[in-house]
């Protein structure tokens, strides 16, 4: 048996993953344990979890892999400072201590923290992205595209994977980056970079999505030179991210008719149009790139990875707008996912081992047994009832949801990736027109424009959504947005976005039987087998991990009930002023 530990850290979203004979047996982000969103620190808790879940010690690990080549990245950072001297003085002073103390001492830190003497394997960041998607995909052969902010030098790359071989052929290098363009507009719109890009995606449909009518689309196209083969080049006068700690330059602000939005100020139609414009440009570039990649690779399957692969709005258009016939994206296509990528690359590409399985679900995090949950509840004198079996629990939960109650749903192993997929979710009735407002203001404490996602059983999806047929597998990970069929818009208003779309999650019974049957049971009561599924957290907090986190989140919000395993906890029965969650709700 070959056991490999993959680690990603020191940039954003630290994570660890454990592979046994090429199969991911455990993976988690550090933030879930430290409760610090996007935690960048060494993922010691995630590693401990991975090892403990398999009852092994660090000495039983055959290989340890790191998700990038730190010296290559340092070379790029130094090149930025040299090229942009003396403008880069401030960022040099602020960034160098972390390079000296952490980023250039990765082997020493890993060996010291893990008390392990093994050599560490380093692979290029975009290879780790590519491997995270291709080697975990169901395809024997696929074209591979990686698009993110920046790795060492690479910002975009493509290649081909076949069996246990993966090669990236071409790249686009820093400072030209589609991910950084999106992040720059995110910053311009007053949202936090490396966190709130999905808010820009959610805001875009409120703007003008017509290329001819959007006043900012043509303006924004001036900042990027796009070739027919999808390669692109940023006009760097419009950006400051290569030498400053702010991303848009004064010239970009002038181009977009105003300064960077103050987050405290209201969003205007101009902001919505700018969000729409950047989304349209991302779609233009991605479509051209994918058409070119298809022509080059002559392969009908595509796997994508990198932060831009989390743009679920575009993902839903790939099969209809490009010649590709099948698509796969892993649940955490962002940087955390590279921990799986480096481990997979070591197993298949370096050790030359054959592929035996693909990632069929995202439940790779910690689980808590009934006795552990009961012990937690009893120890904290929390009032609860216990259902006699799953059937009773499912029927009762469906009834609560049909009565417009908001339910915290905590079951079995935690999800891998940024989306809650029915293990640490908040569930509600999508037919209730007030649900969106209630969840946004009283539970999640987040912006009113943000939509909620629908979850539907895979066998019902085509009834309600205009999805690709057959339904692509990434919908299981909430990575594709599709139009909701018009006749259902008024029936499920709380999950129908302003443009009539929904970021659906599909569930198959073998993936998560309890979740699947709750949705089905709710369908029997309401006539619509769809639920609102949103992550079990408040804005600015990581998704809950333990029973304590879940209980604390419920008590600080207006979640009515918490269903943990077969235990039911009613918030009203446990009135304790544990936590005022609203004051903690930040970006």
């Amino acid at each position: 048996m070959t056991t490999i530990l993959g680690i990603s850290c020191f940039y954003h979203d630290s994570a660890a993953a454990l592979l046994k004979d090429g199969i991911v047996v455990a993976a988690a982000m550090e933030e879930r344990f430290t409760r610090k969103k996007h935690d960048t620190s060494f993922p010691i808790n995630a590693i401990k979890y991975c090892l403990e879940s398999q009852n092994i010690s660090i000495n039983q690990i055959d290989h340890v892999g790191f998700y990038e080549k730190p010296f290559l990245k340092a070379e790029r950072v130094m090149a930025q400072h040299v090229q942009m001297f003396p403008k880069s003085f401030k960022t040099f002073i602020s960034s160098m201590p972390s390079w000296i103390n952490e980023k250039l001492r990765v082997p020493r830190i890993i060996k010291k923290k893990l008390k392990c003497k093994k050599g560490i394997i380093f692979i290029e960041h975009h290879l780790a992205h590519a491997a995270s998607s291709f080697y975990q995909s169901p395809f024997d052969k696929a074209a591979v595209l990686t698009v993110d902010g920046v790795g060492e030098w690479t910002t975009t790359a493509y290649g081909i994977g076949e069996s246990n071989s993966l090669k990236l052929h071409k790249e686009i290098r820093f400072p030209h980056s589609l991910g950084l363009l999106y992040s720059t507009i995110t910053a311009y719109l007053g949202f936090s970079v490396n966190n709130s890009e999905y808010k820009v995606m959610g805001l875009a449909p409120y703007g003008t999505m017509d290329r001819e009518k959007n006043p900012h689309y043509k303006k924004l196209k001036q900042v990027i030179d796009i070739k027919d083969d999808g390669s692109y080049h940023m006009i760097m006068d419009y950006f400051a991210y290569h030498y400053k700690d702010r991303m848009p330059s004064k010239k970009l602000c002038a181009l977009l008719d105003g300064p960077v939005r103050n987050p405290k100020h209201e969003l205007t139609q101009r902001h919505r149009d700018i969000a729409a414009a950047v989304q349209l440009i991302l779609e233009d570039v991605m479509t051209k790139m994918l058409n070119h990649i298809h022509k080059e690779t002559k392969c009908d399957n595509i796997v994508i990875a990198g932060g831009c692969a989390l743009n679920s709005v575009y993902n839903g258009k790939i099969l209809s707008q490009t010649p590709f016939k099948e698509i796969w994206i892993q649940p955490d296509a962002g940087d955390a996912g590279t921990s799986i990528g480096v481990a997979s690359y070591i197993y298949h590409s370096i050790l030359g081992k054959k592929r035996t399985a693909h990632m069929s679900n995202a439940y790779l995090g910690p689980a808590y047994s009934s006795s552990e949950i009961k012990s937690f509840l009893d120890k904290n004198t929390i009032k609860y009832t216990q259902f006699k079996d799953d059937k009773e629990m499912i029927a009762h939960t469906a009834q609560l949801l049909n009565n417009n109650k908001v339910v915290g749903w905590f079951q079995e192993r935690m999800e891998w990736g940024p989306r809650a997929l029915g293990a640490r979710s908040i569930l509600a009735n999508p037919c209730n027109p007030q649900a969106k407002e209630l969840l946004n203001t009283k539970v999640k404490h987040r912006e009113k424009f943000r939509p909620f996602a629908p979850v539907v059983c895979e066998d019902d999806a085509l009834t309600y959504f205009d999805c690709d047929n057959p339904i692509p597998l990434p919908t299981d990970f909430m990575l594709m947005v599709y139009p909701i069929k018009k006749k259902w818009h008024a029936i499920i208003p709380s999950v129908t976005h302003v443009d009539g779309s929904g970021r659906l999650q599909t569930v198959r019974p073998e993936q998560n039987p309890r979740y699947y049957h709750v949705i089905k049971e709710f369908g029997k009561l309401s006539g619509v087998p769809i639920l609102i599924n949103t992550s079990f957290n408040i804005r600015g907090e990581p998704i809950v991990c333990s029973p304590f986190d879940a209980y604390k989140c419920m008590m600080g919000t207006e979640i009515d009930y918490l269903v943990m395993d077969t235990f039911l906890i009613k918030r009203e029965d446990n009135q304790k002023d544990m936590w005022d969650s609203e004051k903690y709700a930040t970006d």
Partner: protein
């Protein structure tokens, strides 16, 4: 009890003071490194007209060859 609190406060203050001093020293040293090291490198670079970051647009394509390192135990 009161004495322990004073000791803790003193330790806390000492820690903050040492953090402040180290930040100040680091900033001074890094400023020297930046002005001397990065400055000279930048000057030499400008003299030789070498572009470390590709900033000029091209006519054809921006795709370039991806050349990964095959020395996996190296950080570069």
């Amino acid at each position: 009890m009161k004495q322990t609190k004073h000791i803790k406060d003193f330790q806390h203050g000492l820690k903050e003071f040492s953090t402040g001093i180290s930040t100040l020293v680091n900033s001074i040293l890094l400023s020297i490194v930046y002005i001397v090291g990065v400055g000279i490198a930048s000057f030499a670079n400008k003299r030789s007209k070498k572009q470390l970051l590709e900033l000029k647009p091209k006519d054809t394509t921006y795709w370039s060859e991806f050349n990964p390192s095959h020395k996996h135990y190296r950080q570069f």
